[in-house]
Amino acid sequence: MPPFEPVLLEAIGTPDSHTLESYCSRGGYAPFEKLLAEQQPTDVIELVKSSGLRGRGGAGFPTGVKWGFLPKDHPGPIYLCVNADESEPGTFNNRILMEDDPHQVIEGTMISSYATRATTAYIYLRYEYPHAWDRLQAAIDEASAAGLLGSNIKGSGFSLDIYLHRGAAAYICGEETGLIESIEGKRAWPRIKPPFPAIEGLFRKPTVVNNIETMACVAQIARRGTDWFRSIGVPADPENPRDPGSYGPKLYCLSGHVEKPGCYEAPLGITLRQLIDEYGGGVWKGRKAKAAIPGGISMGLMTEAEFDTPLDFKGPGTVGCMGLGTGAVVVIDETVSIVDFLHNSCRFFAHESCGQCTPCREGTSWNQRILERIRAGKGRLKDLEILLENGNTMGMMPGSTICGLADGAAWPIKNAINKFRDEFEETIKRTNPEGWMVTDPVPALQIVGAH
């Protein structure tokens, strides 16, 4: 494999990489001005469509196709929301882009706004990113002063304002429609679909929601062209007309029990083992890996034997994970108890469930409490059946919830129990030698007293 030259991260580590001067010296904003002067918005949509760019936020939906869903000839306003509510555990690539190369993100936002004919763009930041906020705001101010933002940019007739919006630290705000509700000033309860945001989104107007990394990719596609983009990654399967392929570079966030955790840019399709060994310096302390999360905790769990799976949009699905997700790889070494891992995962989702749909609100907290009981030495084998039943029945895929949070909560349960069932059974039998085999329902309710 030839050494891969980072593109999205090319400036990271160079002095003053966050400034306009640095960005322009790398050829920044020239592609935007060229597009603005020479091309129509529909041309830009075609450009992105032909590049095969798929959204980097988790679901991997083709970006150009998403833009194409916007109603034609809408009188406006159309909104672009950039999702920087990077809350998936293990994910931190948006942060690096925003903090150290904010102009790349902003140029991508400008190009995307031009393509979608949006005149207002909101960048939705998670609460915990004050430094990213400062850097982005400074970059927006710089760009405005340079005449790259505002009304009638460079005499093109195109106007754009970019606003930062900060969440209040909730995972659900990263869900497309939860984010929209949050920008509107409401509780981030995901909306029922239809209508989809492209038809009726922010302030009931057509809206596109894209990830920060997607914006950076758009900027690079505009600069380097679709051929460059399509030369990287995994081409579409010619046998499967529905496979859009996995093109382009991807920012993988490597953390957990590796020697050199960090955010690494690699072509889509790199295997998990390559990522750990070639970029991460191998599993730490000379230990063996037990499992890894392929792309944020909601994507599930890969066992060590599955580490040769390519990390493209298709790969993790072939070993029972939900998908590539955000590309956040968390490595778990052999000393970690999978019961503890699953408890941690369930605790996270119980805390972050927005509480709208019954199966997710009650299911996630029930799962957490079952795992707490197992860890306290009161587990029963029957609990695994209940956990699996909850895992199999909650989520958008079985249809029992509005958004995908419950699917993300269910996947680690399904993967952990199916792939490490022996360890669960051994732990339960060892810690609860008296009661592991009990299958009776839990004792009757305590009747509450009068109030």
């Binding site: 009650e362 029992s400 009747i447």
Partner: protein, 555 residues
């Protein structure tokens, strides 16, 4: 016509109807359980109880293709060819799981819960739940929180359907209620210092599918299975909201709105909801009294009703002899039937009797809410109906002021003032100002005979020769016509207190009719005398009819 297939049964729905799958299935007789969906509120599809299987049947090939996952029936429109499956094992298992989930944190304190007996959670669990509880969690205790002057919140009974929150935002427009916290720790709450205090607040209790919101007025007063429910009409204002009067042993315990899309949709205001307490007030008039005999001597003795029938006639006849004239105030609290009988009785005593619309109480301005509900400023239910009745006898329809002038000037020598006004503003009668003040009452001084028929004592009652007790709104039968000409018939919900003959019974007997008072007979006779009331000749549907439309149809 679009055809929907519900559990294999084909039903047709209207071309322009926008039904969801719950409504479409109901047409076919299949009840899809649901908590969060309410036809008067926005769709949130969050309780997930109404999950069903749907598909579509191709119009040309007749082939059915099903959606692979479950979908919420409330959110799914029923269109031509929509296939709805409500009883598959997948659907049943999903319902059982939702029930199980809802009960995980529920205190299950049904024995002390006011909602027991009319609780969706109970009913659905019985029908769709599973027998065994698998959850390993002791539920919270039942915390009670004061959210406003009319409503208590039992926090842990809540299933987070958010109907109440949506009601305050979408219908009342006040938005006091909100959801706080997240996940399973979520609670309905108010912002500190901003209680649930609006004129429609009681509706959130009706909307609550479980026992989380309790009506302070009803809390712990009666088990719901002891209550009997009668269709009625609210007498609080000229809106004429359809209600259910819920009572036991001639005592009202609560009023609930009855759905009527033409009048009040699903709601009633708090003024109407709590506007029944005066019926059971101990200071109510319950004895007919002849306070002065025909010669002006104080008597104040109770008289038997059987004797009153004749005595009223003879006293009025004596007072209107020798060129005198009878004036009658027909109260807008009376039903059309009672008003017609009162006019007929008056004209049979004095063919020239003045028939005037009684005092019309008003308060403030009409008050409209974002959800399309309006509280009327006219605080009586039947001014329009009374005017129609009087117009059949006297097209000039004299007003209350005309009557006052006539009794003051002496051109009328006897008066029958029907009143039956509840105390203003839901206050106890002892605190509320009477409907008539001393100065107005003094204008009745010159009369030879004054009959006052009222619920409570008043300055006018003190001057009356005859003081007759009146019936309250839930104690009458008949028809009211609201401000928009919408006529609704109703039967009495409770009997009047012992010793009180409602106006209908007294007047029926004074007309010399036999057997028991039958409003339907009178309604048909009244319909024959007034073109505006012609539509009342037929029996009315429970939701009533629009008199104007009926007139157009018959003209």
């Amino acid at each position: 016509m679009p055809t929907v297939i519900v559990d294999g049964r084909e039903i047709e729905i209207g071309t322009d109807e926008r039904l969801n799958c719950i409504e479409a299935a109901r047409r076919a007789g299949a009840e899809i359980p649901h908590y969060c969906w309410h036809p008067g509120l926005s769709v949130v599809a969050s309780c997930r109880m109404c999950l069903i299987e749907v598909g579509s049947r191709d119009a040309e090939t007749g082939k059915t293709s099903m959606v692979p996952k479950l979908v919420p029936a409330c959110q799914t429109p029923a269109k031509d060819g929509t296939v709805i499956v409500t009883e598959s094992s997948k659907v049943k298992e999903s319902r059982a799981r939702v029930e199980e989930a809802l009960l995980i944190d529920h205190p299950v304190d049904c024995p002390i819960c006011d909602k027991a007996g009319e609780c969706r959670l109970q009913d659905y669990h019985f029908e769709h739940g599973q027998a065994q509880r698998r959850a390993d969690i002791h539920p919270f205790t039942s915390r009670k929180r004061d959210v406003g002057p009319t409503v208590s919140l039992f926090v842990d009974r809540c299933i987070m359907c958010t109907r109440c929150v949506r009601f305050t935002r979408e219908v009342a427009g006040t938005g006091e209620l909100m959801v706080s916290s997240r996940g399973s720790k979520e609670e309905i709450d108010i912002f500190p210092g901003y209680p649930l205090d609006n004129k429609l607040s009681g509706n959130v209790v009706d909307l609550c599918p479980v026992g989380a919101l309790g009506d302070k007025d009803f809390l712990y007063q009666q088990r719901v299975w002891f209550l009997k429910r009668e269709d009625g009409v609210c007498g609080g204002c000229s809106a004429g909201c359809s209600i259910h009067t819920e009572h036991n042993q001639d005592t009202i315990y609560r009023l609930k709105p009855r759905e009527n899309q033409h009048v009040n949709k699903w709601w009633i205001c708090d003024e109407g909801r709590y506007g029944w307490h005066h019926l059971h007030d101990p200071s109510r008039l319950v004895e007919p009294k002849r306070q002065r005999d025909g010669k002006g001597n104080a008597a104040a003795e109770p008289v038997e009703w059987a004797d009153i029938i004749g005595l009223l006639r003879s006293d009025l006849a004596a007072a209107t002899a020798n060129g005198g004239r009878l004036a009658v105030a027909v109260s807008p609290m009376l039903t059309v039937e009672e008003a017609w009988m009162l006019c007929s009785v008056a004209r049979s005593i004095d063919p020239q009797a003045m028939l005037a619309v009684g005092f019309v109480p008003t308060s403030g301005e009409d008050e409209s809410f974002p959800g399309g509900f309006t509280i009327r400023s006219e605080k009586c239910p039947n001014r329009v109906g009374v005017e129609h009745v009087i117009a059949g006898f006297d097209p000039t329809v004299p007003r209350w002021e005309t009557l006052l002038d006539a009794v003051e000037s002496g051109s009328c020598t006897a008066a029958w003032i029907s009143a039956a006004y509840p105390p203003a503003g839901n206050r106890p009668p002892s605190e509320a100002a009477s409907w008539i003040d001393e100065a107005t009452a003094a204008r009745f001084e010159k009369l030879r005979c004054l009959i006052v028929q009222d619920l409570f004592t008043s300055p006018l009652a003190d001057r009356a020769d005859w003081l007759l007790p009146a019936a309250g709104f839930a104690e009458r039968s008949g028809t009211w016509v609201n401000h928009a000409q919408w006529a609704q018939s109703f039967e009495r919900a409770i009997r009047a207190p012992s010793g009180v003959w409602p106006e209908g019974r007294l007047l029926w007997n004074m007309l010399g009719r036999h057997r028991l008072y039958d409003p339907a007979v009178i309604r048909r006779e009244a319909a024959a005398t007034s073109s505006a009331l012609a539509a009342l000749a037929e029996d009315l549907p429970p939701i009533g009819i629009d008199l104007r439309l009926q007139q157009l149809a018959t003209s």
